[in-house]
Subunit: 359 residues, 2 copies
Amino acid sequence: MANIYFTVTQTIAANDCNKPEEIDLSMATIKDVAQKAGVATSTVSRILSGKGEASKETKERVLQIVQELNYKPNALAKGLKEGKSNTIGLIVPNIRDLVFPAAIRGISDYLEKHGYTLVLVNTDDKIELEKLHINNLQNRAVDGFIISTAKKDSVHLLELKKKGVPIVLLLRHLGDTMDAIIVDNYQGGYNAIQYLIEKGHKKIAIVNGTMDLQLYRERYRGYVAALSEAGIEMDNNLVVHNVESWEDSLQAVKNLIERGGCPEAIFATSDPKALGVIRGLKDMNIKVPDDVSVIGFDNMDMAEMMDPPLTTVAQPFYKCGYMAAERLLRLIKSKRTLKPVVEELKTELLIRSSVKERP
Amino acid sequence: MANIYFTVTQTIAANDCNKPEEIDLSMATIKDVAQKAGVATSTVSRILSGKGEASKETKERVLQIVQELNYKPNALAKGLKEGKSNTIGLIVPNIRDLVFPAAIRGISDYLEKHGYTLVLVNTDDKIELEKLHINNLQNRAVDGFIISTAKKDSVHLLELKKKGVPIVLLLRHLGDTMDAIIVDNYQGGYNAIQYLIEKGHKKIAIVNGTMDLQLYRERYRGYVAALSEAGIEMDNNLVVHNVESWEDSLQAVKNLIERGGCPEAIFATSDPKALGVIRGLKDMNIKVPDDVSVIGFDNMDMAEMMDPPLTTVAQPFYKCGYMAAERLLRLIKSKRTLKPVVEELKTELLIRSSVKERP
DNA sequence: CTGAAAGCGCTTACAG
DNA sequence: CTGAAAGCGCTTACAG
């Protein structure tokens, strides 16, 4: 039997296009360098890490040979020895969500500068999957996590943190005990409404996301506050929560208008929702911004290409990612437990063409 | 001096919120399991890997203790020993390009199913950066690469492949010696134009990307072929190449119309370009699709939300990613060099509302 | 300034 | 069926 198998293998091999040729796929190791330089591996190691002294001559010789052999230390061995991998894990619900690419780029840029590597994982907001992945990544000796999936029931993250695993939350947060880089969602919502009011709008509707997420609660709070401060009475007929997708919001506007009549302006608490709202409006032959103004929240990469170009509360996604990575590396490198800090970045109202002054 | 420093440290430590508590951050090792089970580590290893025999009793006992201790093998050690890491590197120009998220999700989903991990790197299409990153990832013992940055001058990729490193190209390709998952760009372009012709259009313009990229050359070839086959004469005034961003295409349409007069339809060879084209048209008070029809290429996640919803040649991004991962794992696991295969997936014409029949 | 040795946590022949 | 030993490629005390 073994014989037959062998024969088959041979046959296929004979037909094969490129025979293996046995090039030096095997990378040079520290041993090769040491041997060629006539020193001990420990010496090479010391020279390369810059720790400890070494005579100028040996140093130069070793460096020379490192060049020649194109030697690069094996990160696995190094990681095993040092108990760290210079790798961090990024956990997002779904990379296809338009908010993530910019944030990821920010993370990636910072990490790259500091010799760290980024491992990406999607959870579809399923908590069991998330736990599995976290576990997995810990076995891979990931040095820390950036996590953008935190919800009210994310106790496992609290526990992880308690165990001393470096974690920073991104865009979502979980109370003061967890490091987080988030955005001032309250202020953002407030500013949006204030701007609408400034433009003469009074009957202002809100198409909001799930109240399970603090960020949507905050944006709503901003809406309420700005309205009340301007002495405009809240009208619950103008409020829709729990709108998820852009299709949802398409439906939401229609309901809204049936229920409460046509508002003068609509605050969509995310750009995709704004897109849906605008589409819904157009479907009903209502013009944006001539008949009703729309303001979004996000400033995702496409916002300025929309029709009309979307006036929106810009989140500094790139910066959030960048800072999250920065914070994480600090946590990782710190010898002692650092006091958690929740960094709240400012949003910026980006004025384009979807809001019009009321005559 | 040392003393002063010590004092300071102490003070801070005293103020610190959570004292270290020393929980068992140290994960259980195979040694712990072996000890507790009263067997050798090799036995544990064998049982866990399923290789070699083991008596039912010891097997059960060991598995039991693995549970108790929540033991997970250290991937670094395993990788070091086995010379592989179960990690693959993904190299893209920029994750913010709208074509990537879906593809990445496809890769990620396949990898996850097979116990592999995804490392992500951006190169901004800079070849030196790319080489650096590839080098880096090799030191991290990445088992193979999925690369979406191939251009005419990407000889370093050819060399890498020659050395036996498993690589598969994604969405771009580099001749028949490199495995690649791409899309039938010629057919896609051809179908787009054929559809426009079917709808009664004759004066059809093209707003195309850089001719450095084979994919744009192919889409153009499809345009030319479909036109000629229908007996429509080519008009160079209706052709614009080297349009990069959506702002470019905004400008491009304007020039186009000045030069060649208003076309009946425009083939934008990417969705962002279509977006720019439509905007440019609207700016000139030309209605889409009533005055001129527009067809795109990509079907990026936003295409159906555009105004009008974009008729476009859909690329199966998710599937491309998925298949690229699939192919790569085959290359990695295969003992002998596999003959390179360039898989060309079909595009699909997605009819929405940006093309109208000509009366 | 430099080397020998131990060890990080695994796996894989090799004995028995 | 099971264990002892070697080794993957590093780094880090420890001597000298």
